[in-house]
Amino acid sequence: MAAFVEFDGVHKSFGANHVLRGLDLQVAEHDVVCLIGPSGCGKSTLLRCVNGLEPIQAGEIRISSERVSGRGVDVNWLRCNVGIVFQSFNLFPHMTVLRNITLSPRKVLGQSRAVAEDRAMTLLTRIGLADKAREYPDRLSGGQQQRAAIARALAMGPQVLLLDEITSALDPELVAEVLAIVRELAAEGMTMLLATHEMGFAREVASKVCLIDEGKVAEHGPPEQLFADPQNPRTRAFLRSIIAAGRL
């Protein structure tokens, strides 16, 4: 299968902190790639590089063979095609859920208010939040806020969705409602990159799992293979610590 999102020797550093050190990775269309690894290994940074929130110092990132890193890239256009959902939701607290979702389609894509709201309501109905459309985010539970944030990203009609530890800030009983939406998106063929600590979910939904360590992909493969029979000693050590924490 042809690569849809490609990372080619990506280097990223914050000052002296060299986070990504020549990372290579190919993501095919409709792939769901789970990035796992110790905290601080660069999972989130990698995602933020894809939509240009963080510039990279060397290497290249391509989407549909088009370079999307470095100079001369229209980041605002890029971000219309690459949606991202954050750990801390980052809904706009001064707007209702509906306005959160319609802001960008109206101001960036130039949709009329009626069209944007119509599409937003369709999305909200799909994720079971239609009755919360006129509420402000702080009236919603964490799980509802994160679902609204996913709807906000989807409203732009992205080709790729980046999910940055989207369940880490949620109470355990609220995780399932968010993961259900991701599962549904995966079934519909959305190309997704997830940074996650939900190993059980990664095993279930991922088409590929990547262990990132020391700024590179230490090991990647289908989940059944990577979780059952890890080849790399780093992967084994990481999985051991996850099991010790009772998370797998």
């Binding site: 929130l53 801390s88 980052n90 706009f92 001064h94």
Partner: protein, 376 residues
């Protein structure tokens, strides 16, 4: 260490002080004495005030009733002191009979009466000072500073002057709101190309926050026409003066308010910007729809604070010849040699600044309550 028991809890428990009763009596006696002194001082200052009154008939009767009420109210201070002493003695008796728990309850009552004495004493002393102040020298302070007959006789003139202050305030405020936001946004322009503009904004804020408003007024309102700066020179002298004063106050207050805006803009977490940019919004769109609306909500209280300052500082324009209320009061004061005109002007300012201050406090309280409730 040598053979001693090593039980940690028994070691810790050995140094606890014995339960005992501390008598509140000495402090209670002090409170009672202080109460008597305060009541006496208040009565004496009211007597001085009464002797300075030169009124007869109903006026005198009303004054006497009010004075008597104050003196009687002053007796509350020694009353609380005596209650403190009585409770302290009762507590001591209970303690001697071995009812330690009850004794401590009554001792706490005694201390509570003591706190009343402290609070009432401060109020009483303040009142005593005010009566003495307004009654001393046969009431000279009243006739020279607070004779409302003087400003009352020129109410139209003074009100006309105050209208200029209010106009200055309102016009300047609107311009400052827009101008300061512009400065704050320029100061946050990203990238290397934006650096010169950022420096300009920083330099402006540094300079005009560092110069007294009075000097800026002198330089702009006096200096510009004198140096024949071709600014607003087509207007009549009076209107030119007004608009130059607006300019001067805008320059000074724009610098302050720009800093308020900046603190508000910087208080919005970068994750909000990240979310907005991730949705394809440009930098200006992110500011316009996401950052500025949230920042403005947060800075309303400090903003109002600066506007209270601005409202008061409109008085400075009297120095450069604008015929505002302060200038008119100064002229009248010179004619009649009575400062009650200034007090009248002060009242006019209070009529605007006190409601504004209360409103600001209300907003701050509401904000704090919302923070405690966990909202944003």
């Amino acid at each position: 260490m040598t053979g001693a028991p090593t039980d940690l809890l028994s070691v810790a428990g050995s140094s606890r002080p014995a339960r005992r009763f501390r008598s509140p009596l000495p402090l209670a006696i002090l409170a009672a004495l202080a109460g008597v002194v305060v009541a006496a001082l208040l009565a004496e200052s009211v007597r001085v005030f009464d002797r300075s009154l030169h009124v007869t008939g109903t006026g005198l009767a009303v004054s006497r009733v009010a004075e008597l009420a104050v003196v009687v109210a002053g007796l509350a201070v020694p009353y609380c002191g005596i209650r403190a002493v009585l409770d302290a003695r009762r507590a001591g008796a209970l303690a001697r009979q071995g009812h330690l728990a009850d004794a401590r309850v009554v001792a706490e009552d005694s201390r509570q009466w003591g706190w009343y004495v402290l609070g009432l004493s401060l109020t009483g002393l303040t009142l005593a000072f005010l009566f003495g102040f307004f009654g001393a020298q046969d009431g000279k302070v009243r006739t020279v500073l607070f004779n409302w007959h003087y400003p009352g006789g020129h109410i139209a003139d003074l009100a006309g002057g105050f209208w200029i202050n209010v106009k200055l305030f309102m016009v300047t405020e609107v311009i400052v709101l827009a101008w300061a936001l512009l400065v704050a946004v320029v100061r946050l322009i990203p990238g290397r190309a934006g650096a010169p503009m950022r420096w300009l904004a920083v330099a402006y804020v540094d300079i005009f926050r560092g110069i007294p408003a009075l000097l800026v007024l002198y330089i702009v309102v006096f200096g510009f026409p004198l140096a024949q700066v071709p600014l607003l020179s087509s207007l009549s002298r009076e209107r030119q003066q007004f608009w130059l004063a607006v300019l001067a106050l805008t320059l000074t207050y724009g610098a302050y308010v720009a800093e308020v805006y900046r603190s508000g803009l910087e208080s919005i977490h970068w994750s909000q910007t990240a979310a907005a940019r991730s949705l394809g919004l440009s930098h200006p769109q992110t500011l316009r729809y996401v950052v500025i609306p949230q920042a403005v909500r947060r800075i309303i209280p400090p903003l109002l604070n600066d506007f209270i300052g601005l409202q008061k500082d409109t008085a400075l324009v009297s120095i450069v010849g604008v015929l505002d209320i302060v200038n008119r009061a100064t002229i009248l004061k010179g004619q009649d040699f009575n400062l009650s005109y200034m007090s009248g002007a002060a009242l006019a300012f209070l009529a605007i600044t006190v409601p504004l201050t209360r409103f600001t406090d209300y907003l701050v309280r509401r904000d704090a309550a919302r923070m405690r409730a966990g909202g944003s």
